[in-house]
Subunit: 295 residues, 2 copies
């Protein structure tokens, strides 16, 4: 656990600098937008997705600067999704990472626009020559991110999640929902290293399988924190799912079995990385970390 924590915080620091350097700044009349984009993205978060990009890129000895740009792009997409999901029209959250959400700090309009601009910026970064000399690789990254983040991925998952409040979901439906809402972007984070490294299909597939199990384990752990953690620990309001009568892994499986399921998924995730042998030790540790974390 200690090794993962220090690897995570080391990655977070490097990513923070990259985010900073890629964000717009300046004193244009519309500078409020730039400020909101910075507020939404800097100075917080576990940076799990960026970490996964860096760790998977290392498997293929990918140029570190390239990996950092992709890590930043994915984090921008993750942050945009949080900004929009927190809006009053959606999950209506006031706190995030221990501080007011973007629409509480600024206003709803600025939050919508900051999210839009962050999403756009992510694609701009991926398509830029600085990300990889081969334009075919860059196109592949754009395609994979768009697929993970769009109507058949994250945005579709958020729509499903909103509608799910008035649906009876079984475990299969909840799994599908989470796979769309959080799993696909996590899968892209793990696959991005393989795309950058032009990795052969079986290795790429192994990383996707790992990411799939990791993403679900992560989500179940999140649900457990929402059910059992305190606002001070987690940095956002807890107990919301139960209050909204929302079907989650916990409501369907119960706390005990949900925890078992998360552990099982974490172990399963690790097995997919056999092909990489010792090289993937850090990714294996992360799988255990996500189910054991307390925030």
């Amino acid at each position: 656990m200690k090794r993962v924590k220090s690897a995570l915080s080391e990655a977070a620091e490097r990513v923070e600098n990259t985010l900073e350097s890629l964000l717009p700044a300046g004193d244009a009349p519309e500078a409020r937008l730039f400020e909101a984009m910075r507020y939404a993205t800097l100075g917080g978060g576990k940076r799990l997705r960026p970490f996964l990009v860096l760790a998977s890129a290392e498997l293929f000895n990918v140029n570190r600067a390239s990996a950092l740009r992709i890590a930043a792009a994915i984090e921008f997409v993750h942050c945009y999704s949080l900004v929009h999901d927190d809006l009053p029209a959606m999950d209506d959250d006031d706190m995030r990472r221990g501080r007011p959400t973007v629409h509480r700090q600024y206003d709803d309009a600025t939050a919508v626009l900051a999210g839009d601009a962050l999403l756009t910026l992510a694609f701009e970064i991926l398509a830029d020559e600085a990300t990889h000399p081969d334009p075919k690789v860059r196109c592949e990254l754009v395609t994979a991110l768009a697929a993970a983040a769009g109507a058949h991925g994250m945005v579709g998952g958020q729509m499903f999640d909103l509608l799910a409040e008035s649906m009876e979901l079984d475990i299969g439906a909840i799994t599908r929902l989470q796979r769309l809402k959080t799993g696909q972007l996590i899968a892209f984070a793990c696959e991005a290293g393989a795309i950058l490294g032009k990795a052969p299909a079986p290795l790429r597939q192994a990383l996707r399988a790992y990411a799939h199990d990791l993403g679900l384990a992560f989500q179940i752990a999140d649900d457990l924190l929402d059910a059992e953690g305190t606002e001070a620990e987690v940095g956002k309001k807890v107990g919301k799912d139960a209050a909204a009568g929302k079907a989650t892994f916990i409501s369907v499986l119960g706390t005990e079995r949900a925890r078992e399921q998360a552990d099982l998924l974490a172990r399963q995730a690790v097995l997919h990385l056999d092909l990489f042998e010792k090289k993937a030790d850090l990714l294996c540790d992360v799988a255990r970390f996500v189910v054991e974390r307390r925030a």
Copy 2:
């Protein structure tokens, strides 16, 4: 005028089919998202931006199917921006193209997500091999679209526009605002044909200059319609700018001089196309059309 109108409606029909084929469909639990995306994009609009893509692509004998894909991608971005701008938190509009806006027909959350998914889809289309065989061209398209649509383009312009309600703007500031908010995407529509056709820099530059003047002329004509048209003619609420005390070309220049300015810009736009000789006749006609239209 007749020639432009029939060229516009011919292009609109072809684009409609392309939009249709690229939009998600099906009966997933999150199908409401797909429906809202279709509602937001199909069956309406002048399709000016798609038309500009097709007309500029024709200057370079570009493959028609490629041009149609780009035209669709730009229209998706345009439509996403309308969906978000119409939200209660932004311009709070109930009608668009003669029917309820997306958040009125569905709800605010669905409108936010439909916009997000349309933006994402646009980038997915551009990066796809079907758009152009050369990945370098595809990356260039992604980069140019992201620049035109992001914090230093359309989204920045919308932020500026919202803030402008409490600012005194002179003609230079209004011009800059409109250049960001609508001009950059129109410029990309005109430039896209040149990118697809790998056109030499001077021709590309000429198209950008044309688009710049055209975009401003278009915006002034829009302001005039808002000031003088009826809701039945225009398909959305009119007189909003004056009611909000918003600085527009009309409020600063007056109706008479604004109309003169639009005419001047349309004539100027045409001059930039001299290089193309007869081949650009249709684009020249469009410049006149945008300042003479009544809706």
